[in-house]
Structures are given as structure tokens and as C-alpha cells.
Amino acid sequence: MDAKKDISLLTDQVLNSLDGIQRAETQPFFYTRLKARMEGGELNEWNKWMSILSRPVVSLGILLVFLMINGYIIFSKMEAEKEVSMASSDYAAMQVSYLDNNPELP
């Protein structure tokens, strides 16, 4: 019973332990460090693009688009080949031999 009471008291003390807390302060010369970071390439366009491209969602998206374009090119090429072969077979069918038209010739 006493242990439970002690725990309850201790818990109250812990919950109130942030009373009177002071605001934490940055280390001196923060602005100097910030400017150095801004001028040192953190805002560099190239870095910005690279950080965007290196995100898994973006890189997987690009890969997906690339695969879709690839698939489209292969598919359309196959279609074109099919059309060519069909046209050539039609053309071949139209090439009737002279002998076929003149069976009476020796």
C-alpha cells in the first residue's frame, strides 16, 4: 500500500519536474554557422536536385516511367513489324506468276 502511494507521489513529482524550465539556447555564433551552411552549397541547385532524385519514391517513379517508355517502344516496334510482314504477304499474294495466267502455254 505504501509502495503504491510512494510511486504515485514520485510520478506526480516527475510530471511536475518541467515546472520553471528555462528556454535552451543555441551555441554562440549560430548565425555565422548558418550563413556558412547557406553559402557552402546547402542551397546549391545541384545538391537540391540530387536530394530530390535520391528519394526512393522519385527514383522508383523515374524507373517506372523509363520501363513504361521502353515497353511502349518495344510494343510499337512489334506492331510495326507485324504490319510490314502482313503488307509484304499481301504483296506476295498479288504477285501472280505469268504461267498461272497462261496455263495453255507450253
Binding site: A3, I7, L15, I21, A24, L43
Partner: protein, 201 residues
């Protein structure tokens, strides 16, 4: 001259300062940084519980301010906007940490050696009164276990002293929702702490 020598800017001057920053005035940017860096740092420190990460996030917040001040329409106070960016950036870092921890665990299963070997040391907030440090350290450990929204509301209120009204503007929820979040946070913390001390006995 040390950076901290710049004096506090009254809120009435905020509009003028932001307008100057939008025009690319570097002295306005410096004044904004100098007068609000501790606000951002303390918020990030309360959420991240790591001084190095908090400094990193504070820098990122001001870089973001510099880049996107044109998006600030003045519908809320400038400090509210700053708090919102600080909270968002801190949460991104917390999620990144969790992802890395998960990734380290998975690679650890396959025998890679980049798993985090030990937990970081207990966090002690530098602004806590000396005789409360040990207890506050336990409390910060418990705060880490809270759900995200409860953690934000409780930390903003208890560590940074932000009133409920401003927390509601930062989190874009109603004041009663903030009250409810903080009430639930306290209940969860109490439960966690009681279990913690019961196990210690």
C-alpha cells in the same frame, strides 16, 4: 561581437521585418534569426532530445524561412509559422531515425554490422532546474513513447510554454482538441511512469 548581442524585436515590428526579408534584406534576416533562434532551438530540442540534431533542425528552419518567406501571407503570427516549420522538420527527423533503426534491424538480420549497438544516453534538458534533472530525464524518456500529436502538444506547452490558443494555430486544430491531447498525454505519461517505477522496485 558575439551573435547573441542583438536585442529582442517587438511583435509590432514583425510585419515590417518580414516585408524587408521578402525584398531580400539580409539585415532583416539576421535580426529574425538572432531574435528567434532560441525559440526554434528549444522547440526542436524538446521534440528531438538531442542537442546536435536540434541545432541542425534550427539551421534548416531558417534556411526554409529564407527560401519560402514569400509563402508567408501573414494570416497567423510569424512565430506560429516558425513553430509549425520547426515541428514539421523535427517530426521528419524523428521519422527518419525510426526508418534508419528499422533498416538497421533488418540488415542486422542478414548479418550486416550497421545496427545501432546501444541506445543514446538519457537526455537532460539544459533549462531544467538542477534538483529536477533526474526526474525530468525520466519524464523525457516517457514523452518519447507518446503518440505524435500528444507529444507535440505536450512538448510545446510544457517545454516551450506555448499557450493552448497558439498550439491550436500551430497544429491547425481547435483549442478543445489541444486540451484533450494534453489531458490524454498526461494520463499516458502517468501510466508509463507508474509501470516504470513498479518494475524498478
Amino acid at each position: 561581437m558575439p551573435d547573441s548581442a542583438v536585442k529582442y524585436v517587438p511583435r509590432s515590428d514583425e510585419t515590417d521585418l518580414v516585408a524587408r526579408l521578402k525584398q531580400g534584406d539580409e539585415s532583416a534576416f539576421r535580426l529574425i534569426v538572432e531574435t528567434r533562434k532560441d525559440l526554434v532551438y528549444n522547440t526542436a530540442l524538446g521534440l528531438l532530445q538531442n542537442a546536435g540534431d536540434a541545432e541542425d533542425i534550427t539551421q534548416e528552419v531558417f534556411i526554409k524561412v529564407y527560401e519560402s518567406v514569400h509563402q508567408f501571407k501573414g494570416e497567423s503570427a510569424f512565430s506560429t509559422w516558425l513553430y509549425r516549420i520547426a515541428v514539421t522538420k523535427s517530426l521528419e527527423m524523428i521519422r527518419n531515425r525510426k526508418r534508419k533503426k528499422r533498416f538497421a534491424f533488418i540488415t542486422g538480420l542478414f548479418g550486416e554490422s550497421n545496427e545501432l549497438r546501444h541506445d543514446p544516453p538519457d537526455f537532460v534538458h539544459p533549462g531544467v532546474q538542477l534538483d529536477n534533472r533526474e526526474k525530468a530525464s525520466v519524464l523525457f524518456k516517457a514523452i518519447e513513447k507518446l503518440p505524435e500529436n500528444q507529444r507535440i502538444a505536450f512538448t510545446l506547452h510544457k517545454v516551450e510554454g506555448v499557450p493552448y490558443q497558439e498550439i491550436s494555430e500551430i497544429m491547425k486544430i481547435t483549442v478543445s482538441a489541444v486540451e484533450s491531447l494534453i489531458h490524454r498525454a498526461k494520463a499516458n505519461l502517468r501510466k508509463w511512469l507508474e509501470d516504470f517505477y513498479l518494475n524498478e522496485m
